[in-house]
Amino acid sequence: MKALYDGIRFKESNSFMGVSYFMSKWKKAASLALVASMIWVSACSKSDKNDSTATGSAAPSSSAAASTDSGETYEVVMGYPLLGPVPKDLGEVEAAISKITKEKINVTVKLLGIPFGQWFQQQNLMLTGNEKLDVMLADFNTYGGMVAAKQLAPLDDLLNEQGQGIKDVLGSKLDVARIDGKIYATPVNPLPLGGTAIVMAKDILDQADIDISTINSTNDLDQVFKSVKEKNPAIIPIAANPQGSMPLTTLFDTLGKFDSLLDGLGVLDSSDSSMKVVNLYETPEYTDALRKLRSWYQAGYISKDAATTKVTGSDQIKAGKALATVAGDQPGVEKQAAAGTGKEMVKVTAQKPLQTTQGVLGLIWAIPANNSKNQSKAMEFLNLTYTDKDIINLINFGIEGKHYTKKSDNIISVLPGDGYSMHQSFMFGNVQLTYLTDLEDPTIREQGKAFEETFVDSKALGFTPNLDAVKTEVAAVKNVTAQFVPALETGSVDPDKILPQFIEKLKASGIDKIVAEKQKQLDAWLAASNSK
């Protein structure tokens, strides 16, 4: 366009100078250029075709190439979101990991950490752009869609051949990841995580003379926020996270009973035995939560910029601008939050844990079907993240002596400095293998086991809907939720006015069809699992 634009300005300025002969010849010149460009097109498209056939044939043969384990060292690219800044010493850590992996499975490793704010966009662009990516972090939100689009490689055979370690570690949890009988991703073996907690900066609470033992439910938060705001008007009591992670609605225990059935479009009330899929946004519980959030927003408890913020809640607390944020609940979550914010934190449980399909699949590792050029090597490396203590701890804590020192066999002390501080060990492979830091409670793993026993299983645990049949509706509905949810769930707009508009638009976009489809599949799944 710009070239055309320049061309015409050129033509015009010439006529101004009185060089009129140029204009009459312009058309001929242009036609010649067109011919030249057409030759170019055909040449380019030819080479393009060659390229595509080359890559096209490479994809199916990759598994064959892998089995003949040639001397060539393969580079495994591992994609995941970074919750903090890009670590300075990432290259050194990569080299240290590669040294181990080269010896064990003849691969080198590239850690492709992408800042969280850009992660979802980048991830999509990488997948659609066929960039090299061998193992990647995914989550339950996108899992079903990615499988439907055949973006993920089925892992059953790979697991049998190269992933024995993963199978041993995860056991029956792997089966939750099955869609239409096949496994497409391996869940992180986490410290049990379920429900949500509100984590608060202790110094600010102390300043306002608040005893956290008085806080038992979401309703008690009003008083806390009020006193904090009175004492220190500049503090935002509850920091919202950027769109896409931990919305403030997760603070409400009343919403904790809903199994979101993968994407929250059509949910199941797990406390109810009728097994009826409903539209979450139409439930009275959701309306009440929005009203409460609105009142917080109006009282200044939520930042005025919450709906559009790009700063994570943890960073807002670190900057001393906020008191609290929401996090997934688990024993020791306050210690993790403390590591992220650099402040002493305390937690209060908000939503009680409900064991759902998406809970187990909260964070999963997958092998992108088209992006990985050597899927079995990718699986071998993935297997190591579940079995190799050295590798997992290199990823999590960096190099011993430089980034941390060992205090005992399993307990380390993180050295100060910003060379390599990740604080996101919950997302890599087998979390049980990670070292404990000296800031953590040494009994945390035992507490985790006890915590997991308090989980209530959702009645739809193991059910993963396949929304291919209502793809059009899902796309339209997601457009609508993207439009309304960030504003509504931060209290930025009046729910009494906007929520009805939202629901009306959802209906126009076909949410009822999605709910009905999920109901149909759930009924079929129930019938199948009962007959077993």
Partner: protein, 306 residues
């Protein structure tokens, strides 16, 4: 004859060589991706590659017309661009006229530079400048301006109704500088004798502008407008995506085709549907260009593009 033709082309060879980079750019950026249009009619299957999916007719277009989305994005794109064209032309022409009257060479250059500056700023930075004005925490308007006037703060990023004005303002602020330079160059090119003769006849400044400057600049204005109309279905992505900070609640007045396609791809992760929306954009844009050109031809054949 053969020889003569060759000679003629030889004369223009340097000009054609100069054209080459532009043509190559066009080719790579605008022509090669056209093959991708077929994706709009396919059900994408990553295991079969980009062109390997099954044909599925108009299924991908369904989601676009299922809701009022198609109407809203079409309306927004057209109305915004039409406003930009009309106001932008009037204002840049006006500014060019004013700049032409500044006789102090240094000051004239100084004003030009100052007016051009916004054009050179990236939209991401512009979005934060706007945020600096409209943000609720520290924004200038809410914390200084409105209290001074005794008005309540406004949640700018939550109120769709203000955005048509904000976006038009930001766009004009950003683009006037560049367009006015083009007009200014044309105005400077007008022979001073016309003005001298007019002054001798006692014509006022206003009469001079109306009867000398305007008619002589008209072809430039037509060309610039035609070019802009050709792009009327393409919107400035940065302006509509970055400046409103991608705030969902504003989509009614900020969603244009380009942002819609982008979000569609990111949220639903569905290339087919995004391609369908892009196809729709190309189709309507193409018809508009043909239509405008046809209209211009009717009135003045010389000014038409083709």
């Amino acid at each position: 004859m053969q020889n003569k033709t060759f000679k003629r082309y030889k004369t223009y060879l340097p000009i054609m060589v100069m054209m080459l980079p532009g043509m190559i750019y066009l080719l790579i950026n605008n022509y090669l991706p056209m093959a991708g249009l077929v994706i709009a009619f396919k059900s994408i299957d990553y295991s079969k590659g980009v062109f390997g999916g099954d044909w599925n007719g108009f299924t991908n277009f369904k989601f676009l017309f299922r809701t009022t989305d198609a109407y809203i994005i079409t309306r927004n794109t057209l109305l915004y661009n039409a406003t930009f064209i009309v106001l932008g032309t009037i204002l840049s022409f006006g500014v060019a006229l004013l700049l032409n009257e500044v006789k102090n060479r240094f000051m004239s250059r100084f004003y030009q530079t100052v007016i051009l500056l916004p054009f050179l700023i990236s939209m991401v930075i512009v979005s934060y400048l706007v945020f600096g004005f409209l943000g609720e925490g520290q924004g200038y308007v809410n914390n200084t301006l409105l209290p001074m006037l005794g008005l309540d703060p406004i949640s700018w990023y939550m109120e769709p109704k203000y955005w048509p004005y904000i976006l038009v303002l930001v766009n004009l602020w950003k683009t006037i500088g560049f367009n006015c330079i083009i007009y200014l160059a044309a105005i400077i090119g007008i022979d001073q004798e016309y003005y001298e003769a007019a002054t001798l006849d006692g014509a006022s400044k206003w009469q001079q502008i109306r009867t000398i400057t305007l008619p002589l600049i008209a072809p430039i204005i037509v060309i610039m407008t035609l070019l802009a109309v050709g792009k009327i279905f393409y919107s400035d992505f940065g302006l509509f995506y970055q400046v409103p900070l991608n705030s969902g609640i504003l989509y009614d007045t900020t969603n244009v085709i380009d942002t819609y396609v982008f979000r569609g791809l990111l949220q639903s992760n569905n290339i087919g549907m995004s391609a369908a929306a892009g196809f729709y954009q190309s189709l309507v844009g193409f018809s508009l260009v043909i239509l405008t050109n046809y209209t211009v031809r009717k009135f003045s054949k010389d000014n038409a593009l083709f």
